[in-house]
């Protein structure tokens, strides 16, 4: 297998294939950086074109876009508090406060370096460990995946914000939105009111654009025109000067890469969950958790490492088992099928050059990210922020419409997005936290579906949820994460009482 890996390298280094990666990464960064446009949308728009392209050119474009967009999403998340992609929500927690402190440039540099590291780690995992990691995927049946989802849902506790009641309202709202559509088991319509457009549920991008992009746009328009106000004192310095300030991040990079890779090989969860989880874990491990959420660079590093670390690893189950780990991987799988590359164990045997070439492309894409996404891209986007606010707002409105419309080519989604926008505006102003809504939407129905599948497998016996070691380990982890901090606080309180 490793000789196949080397054998495929010369092909990848061909001019057309290299150009495809470079163009892909740049396009990905731009798409990710545009509020409203997402990686899923970019790749779905691209797929019909790949019919006419050489397989490696097509795949190189996709790999580049995927990697680029996962970083690109950080740019508006940091500068405008509008996550460019669902996976960049966690990036905004600390990135935006950093930008407000005049550290936006550094935040973006942390983001690009971390994205690149996560991407490289993920590509290496895909190249070297795909077969053994696909065995890990097989360990996770519905019961185990249910516990993973529960673990993820528990991290909502850390996202509740100042008022836990409001945080829970947000979470319940997100979970409720997740059940709209056809029932995952029975196929019965739930809250679709006869609308076929709602049968597949509410696409995360629609919710995200509505909740996260519309309120800031309204704010951009609402604030009286003050062009004199310098919105973008970015504070950029060359990347080699910024690097020494990141030396303390290596533990976070390592941990977040592992979390991202792990979430990637579990089908269905995706980059947003990886970013949320890795952010929480990094904060728990931090010596100064109180600085988190107020502009802690390590928070940006954690989120951005993880959302790139899940890109290539999501292809492990996709290539070996035919189950995509993320929405983007699902679209890519389609791109592979178009070229007659059918996922499964035979794929590595029958088409080694293309498959291993694809893996190299992920690696190169991740490495290129530092160079292409570095100061140049960052600065040009930052300059956009110096545009007069009303103008910026009116352009973002157009991008939002395009981004949402292009997912399924229908206006229904645009109206739905506007509805969420109205809700999001009120929530934002009344200080209901938005992250629990996103996490609830991603994990709510996902947990439900797997629970009900597990119960069917167990023929109604709840014992099936605790029937094997993997499940028990996950339960123990969840309990530790939830109860641990409480116990710690209690102990600390006792200690201060005693002294």
């Amino acid at each position: 297998m490793y000789s196949d890996l080397l054998h495929s390298l010369p092909d990848v280094l061909g001019l057309a294939n290299l150009a495809a990666i470079v163009i892909g990464v740049i396009a990905g960064i731009v798409v990710g950086a545009m509020p409203g446009l997402s990686a899923t949308m970019a790749i779905s728009v691209l797929v019909p074109f790949t019919f006419g392209l050489e397989p490696l050119v097509a795949l190189g474009l996709m790999a580049g876009i995927y990697n680029g967009a996962m970083y690109g999403g950080a740019i508006p998340a940091v500068l405008l508090r509008i996550p460019g992609t669902p996976a960049a929500v966690a990036t905004s927690f600390d990135g935006y406060p950093m930008a407000q402190k005049g550290e936006g440039g550094f935040a973006l540099q942390v983001a690009v370096v971390s994205s690149s590291i996560g991407g490289i780690a993920s590509a290496l995992a895909l190249m070297l460990l795909a077969p053994p990691l696909s065995k890990v995927t097989l360990l996770f049946g519905p019961a185990e995946v249910f516990w993973v989802a529960v673990f993820g849902l528990c991290s909502i506790i850390f996202l509740l914000g100042g008022n836990p009641v409001k945080g829970l309202v947000s979470a319940c709202f997100g979970v409720f939105v997740s059940v709209v559509g056809s029932d995952p088991i029975l196929g019965t319509d739930r809250f679709t009111f006869g609308k076929l457009e709602l049968l597949d549920g509410v696409n995360i991008v629609i919710l995200l654009v509505g909740l996260y992009a519309l309120p800031p746009v309204i704010d951009l328009l609402e604030t009286p025109l003050k062009t004199e106000q310098k919105s973008g004192k970015l504070g950029t310095e060359p990347i080699w000067k910024a690097l020494p300030r990141m030396t303390g991040f290596w533990m976070t990079w390592l941990r977040s890469s592992l979390i991202g890779i792990w979430i990637g090989i579990l089908p269905g969860a995706g980059g947003s969950m990886a970013a949320f989880m890795s952010y929480n874990e990094a904060r728990r491990a931090s010596k100064t958790p109180e600085t988190w959420g107020k502009g802690e660079p390590e928070g940006v590093a954690a989120a951005e490492t993880a959302n790139n670390a899940d890109t290539a690893s999501a292809l492990i189950p996709a290539l070996t088992l035919g189950i995509p780990g993320t929405a983007v991987a699902a679209v890519m799988l389609g791109g592979l099928l178009i070229h007659g590359l059918q996922p499964g164990p035979m794929l590595f045997r029958d088409n080694p050059d293309v498959v291993f070439g694809f893996m190299w492309q992920f690696l190169f894409g991740a490495i290129l990210l530092v160079f292409l996404g570095g100061s140049l891209a960052t600065n040009s986007f930052a300059r956009l922020l110096n545009l007069p606010r009303p103008l910026l707002g009116s352009v973002i409105i157009v991008l939002m419409l395009i981004g949402v419309y292009s997912i399924h080519s229908r206006m229904f989604d645009v109206y739905l997005m506007l509805g969420f926008g109205a809700i999001g505006y009120v929530m934002d102003k009344l200080k209901f936290p938005l992250p629990p809504v996103v996490l609830g939407l991603i994990l709510g129905a996902f947990a439900e579906e797997n629970l009900r599948l597990a119960l069917r497998i167990g023929r109604g016996d709840w014992g099936v949820l605790f029937a094997n070691t993997t499940s028990l380990i996950l339960v123990a982890l969840t309990v530790a994460v939830v109860v641990g901090p409480l116990v710690k606080r209690r102990l600390q309180a006792r200690k201060t009482d005693a002294s």
């Binding site: 097989l138 519905p142 019965t188 389609g334 399924h408 069917r456 497998i457």
Partner: protein, 317 residues
């Protein structure tokens, strides 16, 4: 460039509706509505068929695929049903799904809404078991099911699809009972089978052909062995009259002019013997079985009848 072309098409379609004569058809690009996203199985079929259809329609015919995804293809097929029957809009059509949806859901179309052009793909069902279950023959499987009704868990892609009808046929034929575990699509079902989380699975042959070493394929529900896995015996060979599968083809709105229909049917008929076409379809995991015109309509009626029967006896919702 394409978009201007499209605009011209739209304008042209408006003016020229109903005027198409056989020798002139097709004068404009033909829109193919695919009810799934680009890159899905049905989409790949449509895009693979398109150039061959263009070839046999001649006169510089061109087919433009338009993806109208959502609701398991129902949104797209509804759009096809309500399009102008002028031959410039055709759509992909999946069986038994499209007919089953007229039973378990409000649908704005029925079996009479279409002009049946051709079925192109027939992906037969297979029964597979996980290596861990130890049920490596049909006899062992039936025995285990008979021993304790419901003890065997069956992973499949959804309720009300071809997998489900296949299982119902099996249950009726053998008087056995299974526990259905409907996953979201066949890939997760197959993965659960590979991991041994369910004992048995009902899938389609194209979905398991490359996993033959990892799971036991008990049999294939066809009259003759499938080219995709020639080593797998049919159920007929094993004494069970089980024939079932997922069908993918093309329809046009009802009321297509006869001459246009004739042109299209002739083009589809020509696919049957095109070696290059057959190779392209095999490469994209599409077992070909071209059935055109009235035969396709009869096939549709037959499947609708089966679905209605299952729905009345054991409604799945």
């Amino acid at each position: 460039m394409y978009s201007t072309l499209r605009n011209v098409t739209l304008a042209g379609a408006l003016m020229g509706a109903g005027m198409a004569a056989a020798q002139d058809y097709p004068q404009e690009p033909i829109e193919v509505i695919v009810g799934f996203s680009a890159g899905g199985g049905t989409d790949v079929m449509a895009r693979t068929v398109a150039p061959f259809l263009e070839k046999y329609l001649g006169d510089g015919a061109s087919l433009v695929v338009k993806n109208v995804p959502g609701a398991s293809g129902q949104i797209g097929v509804t759009e096809t049903a309500h399009a102008d029957p002028d031959g410039y809009t055709i759509g992909t059509y999946n069986l038994p799904g499209m007919m089953a949806r007229t039973l378990d859901r409000e649908a704005d179309y029925d079996a009479d809404s279409f002009t049946y052009l051709a079925n192109v793909v027939n992906d037969p069902n297979v029964i597979v078991t996980s290596k861990r279950s130890g049920l490596d023959t049909l006899d062992k499987l039936l025995e285990a099911a008979a021993e304790e009704p419901g003890a065997v868990t069956v992973g499949m892609s959804s309720l009300g699809g071809d997998d489900h009808f296949m299982l119902t046929k099996l249950q009726n034929m053998t008087g056995s009972e299974y526990t259905i575990v409907p996953f979201r699509g066949s890939a997760p079902a197959r993965t659960a089978l590979l991991g041994g989380h369910v004992a048995m699975g009902i899938l389609n042959i194209s979905e398991v052909a490359s996993f033959q070493d990892q799971i036991n394929i008990i049999g294939v529900a066809t009259d003759e062995r499938s080219g995709f896995a020639p080593d797998v015996p049919t159920f007929k060979e094993q004494g069970l009259e089980l024939v079932n599968g997922a069908l993918r083809g093309f329809v046009a709105p009802a009321g297509l002019p006869d001459d246009v229909r004739g042109e299209l049917l002739a083009a589809f008929d020509a696919l049957k013997d095109d070696e290059e076409f057959l190779a392209a379809m095999t490469a994209t995991a599409n077992p070909v079985d071209v059935v055109t015109g009235d035969d396709f309509q009869a096939l549709n009626a037959e499947i609708l009848q089966t679905a209605t029967q299952v729905w009345e006896e054991t409604p799945w919702q």
